[in-house]
Point group: C2
DNA sequence: CTAAATGCAAAGCATTTGCAAATAT
DNA sequence: ATATTTGCAAATGCTTTGCATTTAG
């Protein structure tokens, strides 16, 4: 995946800071602002938190980053991908993606409510195999 | 429902402020801190935001209030009830409860992941009938 | 060369804390 | 009567903004 190209497609300059943000998110999946900052500092000791906030915000607006709200945790960010759900371990706080068949639930919700539904946010919490 | 008794059961004094917080949440379903503050001010013009924060926090810890995270919105609070999901209208921002059969999705998630899952947070977004 | 991005410091909000006065039990 | 709660003010923490400097294209 060519991150520089992706950035440019969205009219964003491919700065080293941005490339590294995308790279870190690609490798780590889901991170909150502080975790991102800590990892970025290793490569850019003079990096400013303001730069992270600005970039996260613009990338979210351009829709190739997604904010994910997890119960009892700070918001985390992930690269946009096909719709999917999340599993959270309440012991180690790790977050993973999972593909679930949400069609039944959506259909059920639509028929009960008469809402036009087009987006689902599903976060399931429990204990991961490692923490068991 | 006797709110005063509920409060006392949790070792919380039934102050007028607390009773009104519970009453407002009972009548309005889901509110964020600011909405709660605005409504409470009508009855308690000298009410402090700090009091709301303190009370929301203690009630959440005592588990008879739940914090609900909605994408692109401030956190809202609701009285604890049986597990249920939420529908959000992205036009008018209203939030309603909905009972969905989550057993299939949970079973699916468990078998794919080997997690021990015990909690689900499901928020579906779309357009409500009124806004259509 | 130019527009955009960075880093710093300051500003702006949201939330929490400490404490004296008031209140529920 | 006592421990808890309230309301205020101050403190803390998180996020955004403004601006001079640097950098990508």
């Amino acid at each position: 995946m060519d991150y520089a190209l992706t950035l440019k497609k969205h009219n964003l300059k491919a700065t080293p800071q941005r490339l590294k943000i995308v790279d870190i998110l690609y490798k780590n999946g889901h991170l909150n602002i502080d975790q991102l900052y800590e990892l970025l500092l290793k490569k850019f000791p003079s990096l400013s938190l303001a730069t992270i906030y600005k970039n996260i915000n613009t990338m979210c607006k351009k829709l190739f980053l997604q904010e994910v709200k997890i119960p009892h945790q700070k918001n985390v960010y992930e690269l946009s991908k096909n719709e999917h759900s999340h599993l959270v371990c309440s012991k180690c706080s790790s977050i993973i993606d999972i593909d679930l068949d949400t069609s039944k639930i959506l259909a059920q919700a639509k028929s009960i409510s008469n809402y036009k539904l087009y987006e689902s946010s599903i976060v399931l919490s429990g204990i991961c195999p490692k923490c068991t």
